[in-house]
Amino acid sequence: MKLEVKNIHKNFGEKEVLHGVTFSVESGKALGLLGRNGAGKTTTIRILMDVFHANKGEVLMDGKPFVPSKYQIGYLPEERGLYPKRTVIDQMIYLARLRGIKAKQARENARKWLKRLEIPEYENRKLETLSKGNQQKVQLAATLVADPDIVILDEPFSGLDPVNSQILKEVVNELIADGKLVIFSSHQMSYVEEFCENIVIIHQGTVALEGNLRDIKHEYGQNRLILSAIGLTANELAEKLQKEFADLVQIDKIQKDSVVLELLSGHTRKELLNALAASALEVELFGSYTPSLNDIFVARVGEEGEVTDHE
């Protein structure tokens, strides 16, 4: 299955919140859908789910118009929501039934996922009596109860402790390995890096960056180097580099003990290395810098302020 979102526009009243969003995702590969708060991720997801209608553009599945009701879709919304006063099993069966699963199968599926997420003992408990982490797991189980072909996970790790996070990681990896089409939205970039082959960053309603994560990292890291020097703090080194090597490099990022540099166009690493060797700097570390997704994200959409992590 290949899901394609093509040139989606969406207005709320006079305000256009999506201005031509385009991306695609295939079965067996997870797509990281990223963006700052209010960028348009949830609106995009709701258009995919047919909760909202796009004002312009189209969503295609294998080249044909995508009809969500023809597919089993599991959606874990960022704003978690189930019925606090009803039992876990009852509401899981209810949601499975609404997704077209027969009652008996719905009960079996509910039990299977509760067992997989290591909370089978809570099936007859009211949701409100469970801890936040276990409620989160019930929510995930409810997302998967109909054994969906398409899984959309919005901040699935929010509120989970490291042990539960590990269980969830395994489940997500299993879903990808099972050939499910997974869309993964999170502000926790490490998880996105772990699961997603492709990413799309939405910023202010437009696609700021889209493509294969490895290629993006490679491209972004091409002219970037990491440098540290003996006897100088990262700040002192950055100051010295700005004074003495401004024609060769510019400072990209100051880290705890090192500085990330970007080679100015037309210059090579060898030129910089020679210049450093000729200077009084005692170089401790000099090498290629592989950017993290967080670096790329901040570089692309973080100019107007810090990214807020949802933990």
Binding site: M49, V51, G81, L82, L95, R97
Partner: protein, 415 residues
């Protein structure tokens, strides 16, 4: 359609397994069932006029503790015997002086005092004046009888003959060809109150349930699994069924139990509880119609707010309409052939009580009933579809409450 049934079943199960709902229904049904047996256990003969249980000793003693009334009659107009014969449960005694009478009243040894000034004039003394004071009427009656007796004696007339001539006993036979408005009035009154309570109670419950789904974000998942129509219709109709079950159980228990015990009540509650079957059917039909009409609108109003504490604000306008209809319906029950109730009986927000009242108490042509039914059914579907649109638009909009006018404007724009 199948998803509608799934929602309906789930929501209905929620009502029927809710401990509060079950307990409330059972408690009131049991009270309703046992209440009409009361005259078999307690002496209610003063109210029912039927002696089923022997008066207890305490009750007999109480009767011996008679209320005392005093009078001063210096001109010899009235007799103690006559007064005591008119009020055999109480005791009339002459007072020696005004001081004695006033002291007795102040010390609450006497209930009231009367001073005869002339054969046609008297003074009435009391410590506190109550809302219902019948003693003066009795005293006046005694004075009139005495006056007539004196007059007859002075003019050589036979008192009995005169009384018979002025109070000639009449016999009559009554045959009602259509409706007995006077006896239908009270159960119509009673049923209008019941349907009003159901509309308000269940309407609010639906609005709160919708807002709850929004505030606990269950709606985020629900709207991706089924249509707003299925969700709202399932929710409203399950509420209607639950309401019917609850009201049916309670009202049914009262009516059946009263029917079993009607003899021991001496028909004292017939005006409320001896409801003809056709009136009950009309009540159920129009009551359910009105309930569904408002319930869809309550559901839509619930979707316009994100917090349960804002629900009352959102449903305020709707409650106002229901209150106005309620007041008009009750006020117009004594005039079911009047123009106001005729107009109200065709409007969907008022026909549930007014057309029902007209059918029960007045003369309504078949075409009028048919027209009212068609308007009501069409309005229920209209309210359902409009409610579902507002519901869909409102459910995923969080934050400040959305006004109905804004919601309607946004709907118009989106179309």
């Amino acid at each position: 359609m199948s998803k509608f049934w799934i929602v309906l079943k789930y929501e209905l199960k929620e009502y029927l397994t809710n401990k509060g709902f079950v307990a409330l229904t059972l408690v009131f049904a049991i009270i309703g069932l046992l209440g009409p047996f009361a005259p078999r256990v307690f002496d209610l003969s003063d109210f029912t006029g039927v002696q089923v249980v022997e008066k207890s000793e305490e009750s007999s003693e109480k009767k011996e503790d008679k209320d005392v009334y005093l009078y001063i009659d210096s001109i010899g107009v009235i007799s103690e015997e006559l007064l005591n014969s008119l009020m055999p449960e109480d005791e009339w005694k002459p007072a020696a002086s005004m001081e004695e009478m006033k002291t007795a009243l102040e010390e609450r040894e006497a209930e009231a005092g009367f001073v005869v000034v002339s054969p046609t004039e008297y003074e009435h003394y009391m410590y506190n004046k109550g809302m219902m004071d019948h003693v003066a009427t009795v005293f006046e009656q005694a004075m009139k009888i005495s006056y007539r007796a004196n007059y007859c004696a002075q003019h050589g007339l036979d008192l009995e003959e005169v009384t018979e001539m002025f109070d000639v006993p009449l016999t009559s036979r009554e045959e009602i060809l259509n409706k007995d408005t006077s006896s239908n009035y009270w159960y119509c009154y009673f049923l209008v109150i019941i349907v009003f309570m159901l509309v308000v109670f269940y309407g609010q419950m639906i609005a709160v349930a919708v807002t709850n789904e929004k505030s606990n974000r269950a709606i985020e998942v629900l709207v991706t699994t089924t249509t707003p129509n299925s969700l709202l219709f399932g929710k409203v109709i399950s509420g209607a069924i639950a309401g019917l079950v609850q009201a049916g159980a309670i009202l049914g228990a009262v009516l059946i139990s009263y029917r079993i015990n009607s003899e021991v009540w001496g028909g004292a509650l017939d005006m409320f509880l001896k409801i003809p079957g056709d009136v009950l059917l009309t009540f159920v039909f129009f009551g359910m119609g009105g309930y569904l009409f408002f319930a869809f609108l309550f559901g839509a109003m619930g979707a316009l707010v994100s917090k349960t504490e804002d629900v009352s604000k959102s449903i305020g306008g709707l409650m106002m309409v229901i209150m106005v209809v309620y007041i008009f319906s009750l006020a117009q029950l004594t005039n079911v052939e009047g123009p106001i109730i005729k107009v109200l009986s065709f409007l969907p927000f008022s026909s549930y009580s007014t057309m029902f009242a007209r059918i029960a108490m007045g003369t309504v042509a078949a075409w009028e009933i048919a027209l009212s039914v068609i308007i009501l059914i069409a309005s229920i579907f209209g309210a359902g579809l409009l409610g579902a649109k507002i519901y869909r638009m409102g459910t995923l909009r969080y934050g400040n409450p959305i006004s109905l006018s804004t919601a309607l404007k946004d709907l118009k724009k989106s179309e």
